[in-house]
Amino acid sequence: MKKLMNATLGVVTSIGGFIEVGSISTSAQAGAVFGFELLWAVAAATACLAFLTEMAGRLAAVSKHTVADAVRERFGWTFYCVPFTAELVLDTLVLAAEIGGVCVAVRLLAGFGLAVWVLPVVALAWLLLWSLPFGAIEKGAALLGLVTLSFVWAVFRLQPQPGALFSGLVPSLPGHDRPQYLFFVVSILGATISPYLLNFYASGAVEDKWDESHITPNRIVAALGMGFGGMVSASVLIVAAIVLQPRGIAVDSYEQAALMLVPAFAKWGVPLFALSLGIGCLGAALELSLNLAYTVSQGLGWNWSEELKPRREARFTLAYLAVLALSGLLMLTGINPLRLTLVSMSLTVVFLPLFVFPFLVLLNDRRYVKQHVNGWLANGVVVAVVVMGFLMALAVVPLQLLGGS
């Protein structure tokens, strides 16, 4: 019964924790320019993420290893250095984008400033990490994040044509702006399949002392939680397609994106958008900071746990403080948060095989997961989506990053 309750809570928190700066911005941009045409990319990315999350939980439950631990042990430090370094760089960029997202949300509510909010946001994140245990951070932010369901409610109020929605689930190439279309596919994949989620999820499972009896609840949480979470992300795209595309409003800034909820919620539209963005980004910033600290500590063999008092694991605490400060400094340089988000999301896809393929080897290795090795479907879906994203990224990311406006 307790496991069922935990699974239910896990599903709810997965839904609330799904939306963050990447999913809001990439889905909003995609919907505003291409209507429903990129719904399939959200669906494919969500399916891939559900499989990967289930694998991370299964690895932790059976082997008692986090992803970072297991990769380092299985492949050796020399190999592990490469994904380790890539993850540190990518996570720091994404963390800066999340901090930027919270600052934008505060600006939308307050009506002024951006850089001025960076230090208070970093201080708030640090205070929450310092004072709260893992469960409170993970579940608290995600439960508050249920405000993002306002996008789903907006879809019901705006009543899109079901036929148009279903046709968006079939991959197709548009007649215009194909490089931009492919870039959005890559960005959606990068925003949804965040490598940090895997180690964070596995670290949480180890912290919660999962065993093999958690395999079924883990499967339920991964399938339903990520499935419904993906539905929220798809709702952002649908609302942008209904509200912004017909007017010709492309999302070059979060202020333009914020207009999407106005037809559904009138004067509550902008505040609901800002709350969704702010809470989603703050939750993701806390998870990213913790994951960076987990990755560094697990990679270097330090004590690590969000359940221990900071003085018992000073280096772990110092690690999340340092990455928060570094990401805050990055935002203080005046970089455009939306641009930073798109860059970090697309770079994530370029490096994705580096994280995913060693991980897949572990999930097919009986020394780690005993009889619970991956089936052909899980391997097939993950490989197909990651390879497709990687190839597209190689083709369009340099074009968009160097030539895009």
């Binding site: 010709g248 202020e255 106005v262 340099p398």
Partner: protein, 131 residues
């Protein structure tokens, strides 16, 4: 192929990446899209503000954000002399300047919470053609 020579495919990809988006057509296309989006944003924001659905503070932010994009395109087009000499570019630069000035007026109206002036300015601005 001897050692040290750059293989053809990567060389082509690097060249394509470095030159992508630098052509006049591509820059004009970006500027056209940016202009349309900025005008549409201004119109949607003004309408929502007039209906009391967004605050003047938000309206000012939205006008300023739209203007930032227009200014960015303008600076990008004006940066290179050989591009700026093109008649189409000169005409686009003038149009972007006009849109930027209108967005600045709208932001000022929002700063003074003057919705009637903003509505008049938005009415006076030709609507963007169908996207």
């Amino acid at each position: 192929m001897y050692k040290g020579r750059l293989p053809a495919l990567p060389a082509i990809l690097i060249l394509a990446a470095l030159t992508a988006g630098c052509g006049v057509e591509s820059m004009l296309d970006d500027a056209r899209k940016g202009r349309l989006s900025a005008l549409a944003t201004a119109q949607a924001t003004t309408e929502a503000w007039a209906r009391g659905q967004v605050s003047p503070k938000f309206a000012r932010l939205a006008f300023s954000a739209a203007r930032t994009r227009v200014e960015k395109d303008r600076a990008r087009l004006a940066r290179r002399d050989e591009v700026a000499a093109d008649d189409r570019v000169r005409s686009m630069l003038a149009e972007l300047e006009r849109v930027s000035a209108r967005l600045a007026q709208l932001a000022t109206a929002a700063e003074h919470s003057d919705v009637s002036t903003a509505a008049a300015l938005a009415r006076d601005t030709p609507p963007p053609p169908e996207p």
